[in-house]
Amino acid sequence: MIRVNNLTFSYGKDKEALHGLDFTVGEGEIFGFLGPNGSGKSTTQKILTGILKGYGGRVSLLGQDIAAADTKELLKQIGVLFEFPYLYTNLSAVDNLRYFASFYPQERVRDVMELLDKLEFKKDYLKKPVSSYSKGMRQRVSMARALLNSPKLLFLDEPTSGLDPSGAVLFRKIIEEERGNGTTVFLTTHNMVDADLLCDRVAFILNGNIAALDTPQNLKEQNRTAQKEPTLEEVFIRYTGRGLEE
C-alpha cells in the first residue's frame, strides 16, 4: 500500500529534514509513525500526500509511483485528518461535509448524516455554524471529512487530540472498524496509548532517520529489564534519547 525507498528531503541548503527513510505498510495495516518534535513526521506525511515535491528516493502509494501517477486519481482514494480541525467556521457541519464531498466521485461518497451519527455528533448542532462548536466537535467533523470518500488509505495526524476519554475510545473503535473494511492507516501521533492499542507496527523516527521499526509487543519485549516489561512510552524514550535515562 505504501512503499518508501531511501526517502530524503531538504528544506534548503544544510537543512535536510529526512536522511533516507525506508519502510513499507501493507494493506489493511495500522502503521504508527512516532517521533519527537521536529523529527520529520509532518514532512514525511506531506510528501506521501503529494503536498511536498522535490524529494529524493521513491514513494509509491496503492501500487503507483506518486511522481508518475495522476495526483487527482490518487487523492480520490486518500483521506487525510490534519493535526488541527480545519473547517469553514461560517458553515455548519453538514454544509462543510457536503462542500468537501462535492470534489469526490459520487459513488465513493458516504452519507453525511450516517457518518456524523457514527461519530456521535450532537444532533442539535448539525445546522449551526462550526464557529459555535467545541474542539471535540470540530475534531469529529474533521474525522468525518477524512472518511467522506471511503478512502483506501487513511492518514491520521493526532486523531484523538482534544477528545475526552470516551471520544478517544470511540475514535479508536472507528479506526479499527475502518481497518476491518480493508483501509490502510498511517497514524502519526505522540500518544503512546493510541499507538500501543491500535498499531500493528510502529516506526520511531529520530532526526530524519528511522531508529526502530517493529510491533509494539516486540519492541517492549526487546527492551525488557529483569524487573518488568516497559511501556511503549518508556521504549520510545529509550530510542529517542530524551527524558528518564537512568
Binding site: 509532518s42 506531506k46 500526500t49 503529494g50 503536498i51 511536498l52 495526483t71 487527482k72 486519481e73 487523492l75 480520490k76 486518500i78 487525510v80 490534519f82 493535526e83 488541527f84 480545519y86 473547517l87 469553514y88 467556521t89 461560517n90 458553515l91 462542500y99 468537501f100 462535492s102 470534489f103 469526490y104 471529512r145
Partner: protein, 339 residues
C-alpha cells in the same frame, strides 16, 4: 468537474456574504449614485447661492439663479455662511443702481474673487443667454452629461481598485485563518479552479456594479451605448486588482500588514489619476504608470472613444496571465504550510 466548480463558487459566495462584501458594494453604489445625481451633476449649475436685496428695483426683474430677499437683515443672515453671496443694490430704476457685494470670506482670497465674479456675472446674464446657451451645447454632450461621464468613470475606477482588491483579500484571509486552504491540497481539485472561482465571483459582481452604476448615472440611452466599452475596461481592471489582492493576501502573514500595503498600493494607483483628473496635470512620467493607462481607457470608454490600441490590450493580457501564475504559485506555498 463542473459540480466541483459550482461548489467552489457557492462556498465563495457564502464567504462573501458572511464578510459583508455585497453589502459594502451595494452601499457604495447607492452612496456614489446619490453623490453624482444630487451633488456633482448640480454643482455646475449653482456654484454659489446668490441673494439680492433691491429695494429700489434698480436691478430690474427676477434673475434666474438669484434669490430675492425682503430686507437688509435677511440678506445678512442668508450670506453669513462663507459660501453664499449677497448683492445689495442701492438706487432706483430711474438712475440705475450701485451694486454692493456682501459676503463672509471663506478664507481663501482667490475663491472669494471667484464668488464675487460669479455673482456679478449672473446680473448680466440676461442679455447673453442666447450666446451662452449656444456655446454650452456641443453635440449631445451637455456640460452636465460630461460631468456625469467623468465622475462616473472616476467613481467606478476607485470602486474597482479599492473594493475589489479588499473583497478578494478578505475572503482569502478568512480561509487562511481557518486553515482550510491546506485541506484543498489533499482534495482532488486543481489550484486553477480554486483561483478561478474567486475571480469569477468577483468579476461578475464588479461587472454588475459597473453596469448598474453606468445606467443609473448616465441615463438610459447614453448609459447603454457606453456600456460595452465600460464593461470591457471594468473587466480588465477587476481581474488585475483581484489578482493583486489574491497575491498580497497569500504572501502577507496577517491583515494588519495587508492594510499597510493596501495604503501604499492605493496611493500608488490613485496618485496619477488624482493629478490628471482633479488638478488637470499631465506629467511626462505618467506615461509609464500602468494605472494611468487603465484609468484613461476607462474614461474614454465613458465618452465612447476607442483610443487604446493593441499594445494596451497586449500588456493587459500579459499582466493578467503573469499575475495568475503568481497567484497559483502563492497558493501552492500556502498549501505547504504546517498541517
Amino acid at each position: 468537474m463542473r459540480g466541483s466548480f459550482v461548489a467552489l463558487l457557492k462556498k465563495d459566495f457564502r464567504l462573501c456574504v458572511s464578510g459583508g462584501f455585497f453589502l459594502l458594494a451595494l452601499g457604495s453604489l447607492i452612496l456614489y449614485s446619490c453623490y453624482i445625481n444630487l451633488v456633482y451633476a448640480k454643482l455646475d449649475q449653482e456654484l454659489f447661492p446668490v441673494y439680492r436685496y433691491d429695494p429700489g428695483k434698480a436691478g430690474g426683474e427676477r434673475i434666474a439663479g438669484v434669490t430675492d430677499v425682503g430686507s437688509l437683515n435677511e440678506l445678512e443672515e442668508a450670506c453669513a455662511d462663507g459660501y453664499s453671496v449677497g448683492l445689495h443694490i442701492n438706487g432706483d430704476s430711474v438712475f440705475g443702481g450701485k451694486t454692493e457685494i456682501m459676503m463672509v470670506s471663506c478664507g481663501i482670497e482667490r475663491l472669494d474673487h471667484i464668488r464675487e465674479a460669479y455673482a456679478r456675472s449672473l446680473l448680466f446674464q440676461e442679455d447673453k443667454t442666447d450666446a451662452l446657451g449656444q456655446a454650452e451645447i456641443i453635440g449631445v454632450n451637455t456640460r452636465e452629461m460630461k460631468n456625469r461621464r467623468e465622475m462616473t468613470a472616476e467613481v467606478l475606477f476607485f470602486e474597482l481598485v479599492a473594493v475589489g482588491f479588499l473583497g478578494v483579500a478578505s475572503m482569502l484571509f478568512k480561509e487562511k485563518q481557518m486553515g482550510v486552504i491546506r485541506v484543498h491540497a489533499i482534495l482532488p481539485v486543481s489550484r486553477i479552479q480554486f483561483i478561478l472561482s474567486k475571480l469569477t465571483l468577483l468579476l461578475s459582481s464588479d461587472l454588475l456594479f459597473a453596469a448598474v452604476l453606468t445606467v443609473v448615472n448616465l441615463g438610459m440611452p447614453e448609459g447603454l451605448k457606453a456600456l460595452p466599452g465600460v464593461l470591457l475596461q471594468a473587466g480588465i481592471l477587476s481581474l488585475v486588482m483581484a489578482l493583486v489582492g489574491f497575491l498580497c493576501a497569500e504572501l502577507l502573514p496577517d491583515f494588519k500588514q495587508f492594510s499597510l500595503i493596501y495604503l501604499v498600493i492605493a496611493v500608488f494607483i490613485t496618485t496619477p489619476v488624482f493629478l490628471s483628473v482633479q488638478a488637470g496635470v499631465e506629467m511626462e512620467w505618467m506615461r509609464f504608470h500602468p494605472m494611468y493607462h487603465l484609468f484613461t481607457a476607462m474614461k474614454n470608454a465613458y465618452f465612447q472613444v476607442l483610443s487604446a490600441g493593441g499594445l494596451y490590450y497586449g500588456a493587459c493580457a500579459a499582466a493578467i496571465i503573469l499575475l495568475f501564475l503568481a497567484a497559483g504559485w502563492g497558493l501552492g506555498r500556502e498549501m505547504k504550510k504546517e498541517g
